[in-house]
Point group: C2
Chain length 301, copies 2
């Protein structure tokens, strides 16, 4: 595969509203290899191909969940990190919501990204060597957790980071139990096959606001309705230690959380080394490297 350039953009977005009415059918594959190439069996690969996601229960043991949870608490409490650009605080409360580029802040999480349970799955799905496009830990507190509106990650990575094609996979590992009612991820199975161009030009430094509350890169409501009616909605639920693997173009979102039960996860995005970033497709300058890495070295164990 040759790299797309800005002149041959198969997934145009952030375009005028009148032009953003037509979904684009995805031409890239979703699964790039076979059962023989890694730990995921044929049935699960077929499920991922059809639905754009796959859930692995018990990817982490309870003891590992504990260890990562303590690591997260340590990072959230670190007074030096409070002033770090990589640390995003909740708009209303002054509480840490996400820490980006966390594999550089935590040896434990750097190791996890190289763990065969994780790395071999990413390699298998993407059919190549992979590198870390983005990593973060998320913490959504009880009571005040705000959700995230429907979006495709690839839309933003393409527009603002210059990711050519949706040949990337996100692995979200739950550090808390995910109930259907505490603001967990909702996905539209099968929605990854359609790319919804979004209306509007990306403002400069959009990422500063968008990490707290998205304003651009949001599909039109009637297109979300169409996807929801066609595909339905499923939720990522399960005990702490479960992992959700999902395609970069899967439509997803989350509701708020009025329950006392917080929600926390480790979020690792793997991109194929055959899909490295070019100039942003629909934005001025690229986002900072802690949000969209330009170190394309393949990960090894």
């Amino acid at each position: 595969m040759t790299l797309a350039t800005r002149t041959e953009d198969r997934y145009p977005t952030r375009i005028p509203a009148y032009a953003a009415n037509r979904p684009i059918e995805r031409t890239d594959p979703t699964v790039w290899s076979t059962e023989a190439d890694g730990p995921i069996d044929a049935a699960s690969l077929a499920g991922y191909e059809a639905k754009g996601f796959s859930i692995v229960e018990g990817l982490l043991s309870p003891a590992e969940v504990q260890a990562y949870w303590q690591e997260l608490v340590r990072l959230c409490k670190d007074p030096e990190l409070k002033r770090d650009d990589r640390v995003i605080a909740e708009k209303s409360a002054n509480e840490v919501r996400s820490i980006f580029e966390v594999h550089k802040l935590s040896g434990l999480i750097a190791e996890l990204a190289r763990d065969p349970r994780v790395l071999d799955r990413a390699r298998q799905l993407l059919g190549s060597e992979v590198y870390l496009h983005q990593t973060r830990v998320n913490y959504m507190p009880g009571y005040q957790g705000k959700g995230f509106y429907w979006h495709s990650d690839f839309e933003t990575w393409h527009a603002e980071d210059g990711m050519p094609a949706p040949r990337a996979v996100s692995i979200s590992i739950a550090l808390t139990d995910n109930y259907p009612f505490n603001g967990g991820l909702m996905v539209m199975p099968g929605s990854h096959r359609m790319f919804l161009p979004c209306a509007g030009e990306t403002p400069d430094e959009h990422y500063r606001a968008s990490l707290r509350e998205q304003e651009f890169g949001i599909p039109k409501q009637d297109q979300i309705t169409m996807l929801a009616v066609d595909h339905g909605i499923e939720q990522f639920t399960g005990p702490a230690g479960s992992a959700l693997l999902f395609d970069s173009n899967l439509m997803h979102g989350s509701g708020n959380n009025i329950t006392p039960f917080p929600r926390s996860n480790i979020f690792l995005v793997f991109n194929s080394v055959a899909n490295t970033l070019v100039e942003p497709f629909s934005a001025g300058k690229p986002r900072p490297e802690y949000i969209a890495s330009r170190e394309f070295t393949a990960l090894t164990r």
Copy 2:
């Protein structure tokens, strides 16, 4: 049972914060009769006693759901009703959220309240003749539906309406499918056995704001946490036509709704004729009669 008066208030609330730290154990029964007295069987009665709620699937037929849905659409579109105090609009959008005293606006809904499937269940649970304390239809649109924070209805009915004891039952009949992800009711099973006094004095005309967004009559966060840890959380899900019967003191709330799927229900509150309203226990003047009826005539078929 003799009526409580303001001097013998077994459920004090809207009190200073320092005094609102201790939950009060409920002394009133939850189920006031037996299997012989109505359509609810012994197992379901025992479930209601223990959990404070009971779900009846298919209380309405699909054809009835259609008829009530059309009735709701008709009411929401009625230009004369738009200016009616009984019609509550969503704060952000200008869309109808609830219509109170709806049994006086719709013959169809007045009939439903007298339907043996509904009325006989209410009579059985409360062990007496019953009357309508409050009725409404609720409409929570897709995308913009805001939830309601945790609360006990009885706390408000006691404080602001003068309902002496929690001898009332709410019947919520779903006119849309309730998924776990479109802002449906969350309940804490068993929480009806504890009364959580709330802090703060009720402001005058509080109901005008509280119907849109509750500010008083909200338990302390650590007490909600305690209840949630002790009892867990369950959701009212199921196809349109399902009904939830729940005790007036059950702790409940709902999240927001970012899905395209709206949520709508008919809400009928039956109170025992042995529990009719007195002066408000913790407010100046009583709320309007369309929110808290003072017509105590027993309902008949």
